[in-house]
């Protein structure tokens, strides 16, 4: 992975890579690993928490947006996509994992690109949530209809829940990015 964002460049310098093995710096491996784990854990835990009253609602999207806003589109796509997919497997919805990977991965990717424009302004983040969220909802819809072949009925039945998840997750994701940047600047989160 080439160093693209400012944040990763700083880390590359700091970490004095051993002579050109070409691996990603250890801090990136570790950080992507734990953020993936946390995305999965949040999806899993909040799913259980909201399950009795709110059906299929979970807070996983807030982690996808957080990763995207704080650490860029790569983190959004990888940690958000893989983390959400792992949660699917562990929740007993493994058949959804590949589609979740595509849907949440694209959500994180798009939110990460748009949300960090203009130095990550508030407007950019809101637009990032809207664009990334749309990607997620549409990807799920298309995957369910054309790849999983569940028919438009079942696919559309899932969509409103996804939209609510984007709105709630996006709000919380923006708050989290702001929070972590403020209280733990050493993490290099933007």
């Amino acid at each position: 992975m080439a160093s693209g964002t400012e944040n990763e460049e700083i880390l590359d310098d700091e970490l004095d890579q051993p002579d050109g093995a070409g691996f990603v710096p250890p801090i990136i491996v570790a950080r992507y690993g734990v953020l993936t784990a946390l995305t999965a854990a949040v999806t899993f835990a909040t799913f259980i928490y909201f399950a009795p009253t709110k059906g299929y609602f979970n807070m996983g999207d807030s982690m996808v947006f957080f990763c995207a806003f704080a650490f860029g589109w790569r983190a959004g796509a990888i940690c958000g996509g893989v983390g959400s997919a792992v949660a699917d497997v562990l929740l007993g919805a493994g058949f959804f994992a590949p589609y979740t990977f595509l849907a949440k991965g694209s959500e994180g990717l798009v939110a990460g690109i748009i949300g960090r424009l203009n130095g990550g302004s508030k407007l950019a983040k809101v637009l990032g949530v809207a664009a990334g969220g749309s990607c997620m909802v549409v990807t799920y819809l298309l995957c369910e209809v054309y790849l999983l072949d569940v028919g438009w009925g079942a696919a559309l039945a899932e969509a409103p829940g996804n939209v609510i998840q984007v709105i709630v997750g996006g709000t919380v994701g923006i708050l989290l990015a702001w929070y972590v940047k403020r209280v733990y600047p050493a993490s290099g989160a933007l």
Partner: protein, 262 residues
Amino acid sequence: MTRFEDLYTEADTFLHRLDPRVKMASVLMLSLLAIIMSALTYLLVLLTFIFVLLLLARSSYRKTTFAMKFVLRFMALIAILWPLFDPSGTPVLIRLGPVVITEPGIWRGLASAARVGCLATVWYILIFTTSQRDLVRGLVKLGLRFDFGLALAIALRYFPTFGTVMDSIIDAQRSRGMEFEKGNIFVRARKYVAVLGPAIVSALKTADMLALALQSRAYGARRNRTYLRELNMRPSDYVALVAALAMFIVPAIAKYAFSIPI
């Protein structure tokens, strides 16, 4: 998070002994098979076959129901809603204004539900019988970059840890009078900032420590690292691989080359 359970159980069945790469290939083949099949009967046969494999993997009753837990609701949804959106074919059973329900529509709905059932459960043949370590090792052998594999291994390792962390944070905030059960979904979600904030900070601190540990163990010192335990394909692995490939290829040829409806 207390409901989380480790899906992998140690045992000594032929599925456990099989090379993880072969298991991944088999799951892929069976999934593709489910996708190309459209006859309800054959899909039910495949679903039964998958369950036989799960039984052979000695997965407990609890785990088998776990694998079916979410998909059952989804299958019901498909079976009910499909006919409403698929008015093609005859005989027409019900005509209510714009809604037309046909008999083939109902069968197609059931077939689609069975297909989703297959796709949902076939995964767990792999997950129930393969340890995290073998899973990651198999992926790395299949060409996943070592550093990405390592990140995945870290993710799987820390998932239960962070689950416990979140539980503790929720307990701590409740102890200070925070009520997560109150308010509408937006109010409740905002309260989660008090949980996710500390969780993220402690996760990032963990990452900083892990990075130091990786460096001190000469991570990235050489590109072609060696392994203590290599994965080696045994003759039985090849047999299983060929069988899995045949299970997809033969029906595929029958369907697309000879137009046999399956």
